[in-house]
Every structure is written in structure tokens, then in C-alpha cells.
């Protein structure tokens, strides 16, 4: 029974992909199928989250091959919460897509690819095997590659090409690292790797493999100096696609970094700590400065993805229980807020025909409800209490102060102010400023089916408020998850014993 709980968040999107690929291409069928499937996945993931929090780590050995010989699927608190929130975003964005995705895209298999993306992301969160993680990355990437380039317009193809080439490069590095680790340690099961690495006499090779993995995951997480593909490609596809990418893909990279550094490479962490701190600080600063220089909503938000990744890596780099809990909280908060902001940029494009801040305006007068919906995630991102971003930043900053990392803390605070500046810029330009001369005619995008776009945005805004108001509850959960990460003995013994705790 517990095995089924773990498998359902994978099987449902896979089944959905197959049904939508094989079934009718009629627009109605595809839309209903995608929403129903992502909704069911959400329910299954929430059940999994509750089960894992109550009963401890769940393990499924695929094909009943005992670990480390078979592939293990493992759900600890971190995996389960990541799956749950990506399913939340998956369902919300699927509803949003009803209002945005055109018939032409749907008939080019948009929805099967969308569900395949959710399948790959959930697999990456749940796997307990390094080579299997590579395969899940590829599933996720191939779906995202096609989603980026599906429209076939020049910008999409250009952005898509950069995205594809750099991610393939990072996959090759990841594969090489997996090969080296197998050559030195003779296993690829994460729990088994952790056991054998401590006894290994060959630190040079392991250090090389760990750095290759750092570069590979860093590229996928878009950290400095490997982030250039992200702002070049995320603003080109429809907002539905940018939003789900923003919520999921880079977070998978961060998740993978947290997983390998807490579980496998924990003995090597002291040598990597300085590097991670430097990467985190530079990621925060370059991201936020890039955002300050831009004047188009989606480009600004893309650079903020980079900047926010810095905070999460900073939490990992401090490596205390509080810091890891803050990093987990930060990831959850950021997934919800960032996806929501990109969805809102989609509504702005629908209402005013563009998201270029020089050519939009007057939204506070013409659509005050949108102003409220934007205000919540934007100021949460900037870290204004009592919204969720405040607690996330507070956790990271406190962990930094406890560890005496003054410089990193100062950088985090300055970047927070600059984030507020960017959000204020969008607020002032898009919402307060009167509509400029030469703006596109109102409703240039057509307002048909606007309701489908507003409902998920409102839901995610409420989520942001709830994550802030009930921050203590979620932070307590994050602390439990961080404890689990920092005492990997439970993970290792559960996986290698071949059974769950029940």
C-alpha cells in the first residue's frame, strides 16, 4: 500500500501522457485530460506528503531487486514536499493554460508534453539512484525542450537553442561524474554511495566527481556563472510555459544539490563550503542587478529566478539545521510566488498586448483586482512581513548571523532591497502610471477565457498569504525535513534494509 502511495505521483502523469498522446486530438479532450490528470496528481502527492511526515521515509525497490542492485524510489520529507508543491503548481498552471494555450499548440501535443514534464520532475525528486536521476533529468529536459520551441517563432527557437545546448552540456558532465563515481565506488545507489564514500581511500577522484556534479546541477539550477541560458530563454515561450519552468526546473537543480551534499558528499562538504558561499552570493547579486537593468516584466522576473536561487544555495552553504530548514522553506515559498508572478505577467500580456513596461500602464485603474493579486506575491518575493518571503529570508539571515557569515548576510539584505526596487518598478510602471501614448489598443490580446487565468492566480496568491500566516507550521515542517537531511542514517538504513518503516 505504501508503495502505491509513492508510485502514484509518477504513474498518474505518465498515464495522462499516454492517454492524451493516444487519444483524440480534440481540444476539449486534451484540456479536460490535462486538468483532471494534474488534479489527481496533486491529491496523490498531498496524501504522500502526509504519509511521509507521519510514518517516516517510504521506499520502493523497483522490480523487487534489493538495494543497491535495483533502482530505489525514496520519499523523505524533502522529496515529498517538493513533489506536493510541484503538483500544486502543475494543477494551477494547467488551469491557467486553459485561458492561454492556443488550439494550434494543443494540436502539436502541448498537453502530453506538459504532463511528461511533471512526470520527469516528480521522478527526479523521488529517485534514490544517481544514474536514474540522470534519466529523470533527461525526461524532464526533453519535455521542456519541446515546450520551449513548440511555437516555432524566431525568439522561441533562438532561446530554445541556447537552453538546449547548455543543458545537454551539463547532462554530459553529470553522466561523466556518475561514471567516475561508479568506477571508484562501484555503486550508484545514493544511500550505498554515502556508505562506501566514507570508507573510500581515493579522495582525489571523489573530489573531481563532486565538482563535476556541482557544475552540472549548478547549470540546471542557474547559479552564477552558469545562468546565462535562463534569462535568454524563459521570456520567449507563452507565460504558461515560463511559469511552470520557473516554478519547477531550477528548483530540481537546487533539490539535487541539497540531496547530494547532505547525503553523499557530506564528508567532502568542508572543502566545497567556501565555493558554495561565493557562488550563492554572486548569484544573488548578479541576478538582482540584471533584473534592475531590464524593463520587460518577464525578463525582470527571469533574472529574479536567478537571484532567488542564490538564497537557496546560501542556505545549503551555511549547512546548519536552521539554514537548511530556511532553504527548504525558501524553495517552497519561491515556487509558489515566482510561478504566480509569471502567470500574472501572462494576464498583463492578455490585457494590454505586451509586458514591456514602457508600453503598459493604468492597470491599477482598469484592473484593480489584478493589482491586489500582483501585490501579494511581489511583496512576498521582496520579503515584506507577514508574507511567506519574509520568513524564508529571516531564516536564511538568522542562520548566517549564527554562523558569523557577516558578508553573506549583508549581501542577502542588500539583494532584498534591490528585489523590492524591481517589484516597485513593475508596480509603478504597469499599475500606477497612466497608459502611455502609443500603447497597444486595450485588450489587444483578446480577453476570451480570462476567468481560467484569474482563478489559479488568485489561488496561488492566497497560498502565498497562507504560507506567511501559517509560516510557523511550515517552518516546523522544514525543520523536521532538515533534521532528516542532516542525520542521513535513517535514509540509508531504510533504503538498504529494503523495506519501509511500517
Amino acid at each position: 500500500m505504501s508503495g502505491l502511495l509513492l508510485l502514484l505521483p509518477l504513474l498518474l502523469p505518465l498515464a495522462g501522457t499516454i492517454v492524451l498522446l493516444a487519444g483524440s486530438l480534440s481540444v476539449g479532450f486534451q484540456r479536460v485530460g490535462a486538468v483532471v490528470c494534474s488534479g489527481l496528481t496533486l491529491v496523490a502527492s498531498l496524501v504522500l506528503l502526509v504519509a511521509v511526515d507521519r510514518a517516516g521515509i517510504l521506499v520502493v525497490q523497483l522490480g523487487s531487486w534489493e538495494a543497491p542492485f535495483g533502482i530505489s524510489l525514496v520519499a523523505d520529507r524533502l522529496s515529498a514536499v517538493m513533489v506536493a508543491f510541484s503538483a500544486l503548481l502543475g494543477a494551477a498552471v494547467a488551469v491557467f493554460s486553459l485561458g492561454e494555450i492556443s488550439r494550434r499548440r494543443i494540436q502539436r501535443f502541448f498537453y502530453p508534453l506538459y504532463l511528461l514534464l511533471l512526470f520527469g520532475v516528480n521522478g527526479a525528486f523521488l529517485t534514490g539512484d544517481l544514474f536514474n536521476l540522470y534519466v529523470w533529468f533527461e525526461v524532464m529536459l526533453i519535455a521542456s525542450f519541446v515546450l520551449t520551441a513548440l511555437g516555432g517563432a524566431r525568439a522561441e527557437l533562438e532561446g530554445g537553442l541556447k537552453y538546449v545546448i547548455l543543458n545537454l552540456f551539463s547532462s554530459a558532465l553529470f553522466l561523466s561524474a556518475a561514471g567516475i563515481l561508479y568506477g571508484v565506488l562501484g555503486t550508484l545507489n545514493l544511500a550505498d554511495l554515502a556508505v562506501r564514500l566514507e570508507a573510500s581511500p581515493d579522495p582525489g577522484w571523489l573530489q573531481a566527481a563532486s565538482l563535476l556534479i556541482l557544475v552540472a546541477f549548478g547549470l540546471k539550477a542557474a547559479v552564477f556563472p552558469l545562468f546565462f541560458w535562463l534569462p535568454a530563454s524563459y521570456h520567449t515561450p507563452p507565460s504558461t510555459v515560463s511559469a511552470i519552468f520557473a516554478g519547477l526546473l531550477t528548483k530540481v537543480g537546487v533539490y539535487a544539490l541539497i540531496r547530494v551534499y547532505t547525503l553523499v558528499f557530506e564528508p567532502l562538504f568542508p572543502q566545497a563550503q567556501g565555493l558554495l558561499l561565493a557562488i550563492a552570493v554572486l548569484t544573488m547579486i548578479t541576478g538582482v542587478l540584471g533584473a534592475a537593468a531590464h524593463f520587460e516584466m518577464r525578463r525582470i522576473l527571469s533574472f529574479h529566478i536567478v537571484s532567488q536561487i542564490g538564497y537557496m544555495v546560501l542556505g545549503l552553504a551555511f549547512f546548519t539545521p536552521l539554514a537548511l530548514a530556511a532553504a527548504i522553506f525558501y524553495i517552497i515559498h519561491n515556487m509558489v510566488a515566482k510561478t504566480n508572478l509569471l502567470l500574472i505577467s501572462g494576464i498583463v500580456i492578455r490585457l494590454q498586448g505586451t509586458a514591456d513596461l514602457a508600453r503598459v500602464g493604468g492597470l491599477y485603474r482598469s484592473a484593480p483586482w489584478l493589482a491586489v493579486l500582483f501585490f501579494l506575491p511581489a511583496f512576498s518575493l521582496a520579503g515584506i512581513p507577514p508574507l511567506s518571503g519574509f520568513w524564508a529570508k529571516l531564516g536564511v539571515v538568522r542562520a548566517g548571523l549564527e554562523g558569523g557569515w557577516w558578508f553573506a548576510v549583508a549581501a542577502a539584505l542588500v539583494v532584498g532591497i534591490l528585489t523590492l526596487y524591481s517589484m516597485t518598478k513593475i508596480w509603478a510602471e504597469a499599475f500606477w502610471k497612466p497608459r502611455p501614448e502609443g500603447a497597444l489598443p486595450l485588450m489587444a490580446g483578446g480577453v476570451g477565457r480570462l476567468g481560467w487565468m484569474v482563478v489559479p492566480v488568485a489561488t496561488l496568491s492566497v497560498c502565498t498569504v497562507a504560507l506567511g500566516v501559517f509560516g510557523e507550521f511550515l517552518f516546523a515542517f522544514s525543520e523536521r525535513a532538515a533534521d532528516q537531511l542532516l542525520s542521513p542514517q535513517e535514509y540509508i538504513s531504510t533504503v538498504l534494509a529494503g523495506r519501509g518503516k511500517e
Partner: protein, 115 residues
């Protein structure tokens, strides 16, 4: 022969990175292909290279006769080859489409989404 494999891996990676640094988008594809071949070969070699020792169980035995080649890297590299085959097909299509849309194969012409 064994000493040639690491050299070949190095050459593949170096040639791949060189191609990635060139300005033609077609060379980007070639570069990525070479690098993924290098990575595949590395995974293949990671189990140790043993000539003429297949991991076969003799008819009257319970387990293969040692020393035998490790089958797991071969299984993994097959998976990786299939994945890189599919991705190469996709990237070739993408490059073709991008070339049609941009009308140039110089990467300098592909900067309109950067700034």
C-alpha cells in the same frame, strides 16, 4: 589497448568543447554530440576494461567465472546512447528550424533574446 581509451575520452571532450566555442550553430550540435560520446565512453570504461571475459554463467555453475566484465556500465551506457540519439535528432531539427527562422548560422545572429 587500454591506455588508448582515456586518451580517446580526452580527445572527444577537447574536440567537443572546441566545437562549442566556434560560432556556427551546426558546430554546436557536433560539439554536443562529441562530448556526449566522450561521456558515454567514460561510463563504459568505468567498470574496468577486460577483453574476452563476458559475464556468462557456465552451464554447470552458479555464477560467472571471475574475472568477468561488469555488465552494469554496459547497461547504463546503452541507456545513455539511446537518450543521446533521441536528443541529437531533436537538436538537429531545432537547429534546422532555427536556421530557417534566423536565416544565418552565425551565433552572433542569435542574440535577439539576450538583452
Amino acid at each position: 589497448m587500454g591506455f588508448l581509451v582515456p586518451i580517446l575520452i580526452g580527445v572527444l571532450f577537447a574536440a567537443g568543447v572546441y566545437c562549442l566555442m566556434r560560432r556556427s550553430i551546426m558546430k554546436l550540435v557536433i560539439g554536443v554530440m562529441l562530448i556526449s560520446q566522450g561521456a558515454n565512453l567514460l561510463v563504459f570504461a568505468s567498470g574496468g576494461l577486460l577483453a574476452g571475459s563476458p559475464p556468462l554463467v557456465p552451464a554447470d555453475g552458479q555464477e560467472p567465472v571471475a574475472p568477468f566484465g561488469d555488465p552494469l556500465p554496459q547497461a547504463m551506457v546503452l541507456t545513455a546512447i539511446v537518450i543521446s540519439f533521441g536528443l541529437t535528432a531533436f537538436v538537429l531539427t531545432l537547429v534546422h528550424e532555427a536556421h530557417e527562422a534566423v536565416g544565418d548560422d552565425d551565433t552572433d545572429a542569435f542574440r535577439s533574446t539576450d538583452t
